[in-house]
Symmetry: C2
Subunit: 322 residues, 2 copies
């Protein structure tokens, strides 16, 4: 993923330094946990979007660095809380915070990161960005709640699914891009184009994630395959396959989704069902469609190295294996 | 507790109406959970402080209502997360959200309330209040983390204890009062006096809570007595008693603090230890000291029905049985 970070390589280094500064707390235990999760090989996709979009919009200042950090903090807070909600054991190939230190620090350090993010925003004093980010975090929690309501529910529709991933994933991608537009002080039409670009990119990112959960292996995804199935998450590959599935197939799928322990055999059964009814290829086509549509949003902007980088980031979304 | 709410009775009714409006979400499940916890007989102490302090500072507008609601939302979010962290079964005599619906909605609806609070603040556009509240929520999460670090640790000092309760409880009381000062646009000295008043009141509130946890019974506290002991929390009554306790007494206390299930006999043992070494009377004296000092902070303000109400609220802190 080096080609699209080239134009902002220096800023990304500054980001890592400022992450340490912005997280400052007198409590060593918080530092330890934040470092454990934030330095554990996250792809920094959201900060990259803040930076590339700021530059695309001609922003010459330095505020994109703290805002990129803030977006990453919020993302990290959601990971900490997700792992408690999903009772997850591993993330990015390492044990989750809740596995190592228990649920308590996962919940509370997540809260610390949320609060610190809003504290940092209050110092920055950009009302418009604050409004945009706080609306996004509200939507984010709504998306996560919708997802738990639909756990193990095979009547989950494509519409439900897109509402869930729109809120839980795409909205934060969208905001990351919008921050760039706000900092660059562009027209409403341009801001709206970047907002849509981010949203569609976020949808594609999640679709790819949900494909990889069925197709990739431990080494690549950094987690056991079939995590979604274990957690009872009904994602697009399965939703599509279930449309054509017979009653018997549906019943056995529900049983597996509701199980506390999903065996390798269970997983293979569902994976084969998805293969039989083309759930993966359908989801891949949807991913391509969203990415194509996302890229079109950028046509409003003149050619530049930043635009090229964003287009290449979009292509990466389709190909990424982790 | 009627005497100190009299001057703001109408505003408190408006608060209840605006809580419903401000929490608006299309997801019924969130409404259900927020209603369950926010309408479960909370004392609304923090909103009352926002209102009385605004009026004391001569504020004539309407913004104290949404800010009172925001402070209550933040408080409610911390309750939801606390119950997950403490694995609590009951609160205010009812089952906790995590007992009825599991940890997931407790964490996520807490996040929803945090985010919505910041979203509402972003609409209000008061930079100074935003800064003050976001610093407070950061301190709050730090306090909660300090508390879990010190779980079952009998070397916890009075200094540690006051740092914990200062952050986890007093800071939000302090901010509630400071909001009134900011809205009323008073001098820095007056703002600082109200900030200190709230902080000391909050300390006294928590001291009283920690006394009641050892002295009161089910019907009064709305929870089983000895909750702190069950959760391994080392509070002032115990810290003080342990100063005079012998090695054998210390050892048996540690054992009980580390137990997953604390029996009635265990509880009685610790309660008697606290009685023997005057832990309760020491904590009562500290409560009185903080309240006296809190009340002095108000001497800067001219007499009014609002000042009388705040003084009477301080007296209530000492006497309250739940």
């Amino acid at each position: 993923m080096t080609d699209f970070i080239k134009p902002i390589e220096k800023d990304l280094k500054k980001l890592e330094l400022s992450i340490d500064k912005l997280i400052a707390t007198r409590i060593d235990f918080i530092k330890k946990i934040v470092n454990y999760i934030i330095k554990s090989g996250g792809k920094r996709v959201r900060p990259i979007l803040v930076m590339l979009c700021s530059k695309l919009c001609g922003y010459k200042g330095k505020k994109h660095i703290p805002f990129a950090a803030i977006v990453e903090f919020i993302h990290t807070a959601t990971l900490l809380h997700d792992d408690v909600v999903d009772n997850a054991k591993t993330r990015r190939g390492s044990s989750t915070v809740n596995t190592v230190w228990g649920n308590e620090p996962s919940v509370l350090v997540g809260d610390f990161l949320y609060s610190r993010s809003f504290e940092l925003m209050s110092y920055e004093g950009n009302q418009e960005i604050l409004k945009t980010i706080s609306q996004a975090t509200t939507a984010l929690s709504e998306g996560e709640i919708l997802e738990i309501i639909k756990t193990a529910d095979i009547t989950t529709t494509e519409k439900d699914y897109f509402e869930i991933i729109g809120n839980k994933t795409a909205v934060l991608f969208s905001v990351a891009c919008e921050i760039g537009a706000i900092l660059g002080n562009v027209t409403n039409k341009e801001r709206s184009a970047l907002k849509n670009f981010g949203y569609k990119l976020g949808i594609a990112f999640q679709l790819r994630d949900d494909i990889l959960d069925y197709t990739s292996y431990d080494e690549l995804l950094g987690k056991h395959v079939g995590t979604d199935l274990k957690e009872g998450k009904v994602t697009l590959p399965l939703i599509y396959a279930l449309k054509s599935a017979g009653e018997k197939e549906k019943l056995s799928t529900v049983k597996i989704l509701k199980k506390h322990t999903v065996s390798q055999r269970d997983f293979e059964r569902v994976r084969k069902l998805i293969e039989k009814y083309n759930g993966i290829s359908y989801t891949s086509t949807a991913t391509e469609k969203y990415l194509g549509s996302a890229k079109k949003e950028l046509s409003r902007f003149p050619d530049s190295q930043y635009k090229d980088a964003l287009l290449s980031l979009a292509d990466y979304m389709l190909k990424r294996e982790k």
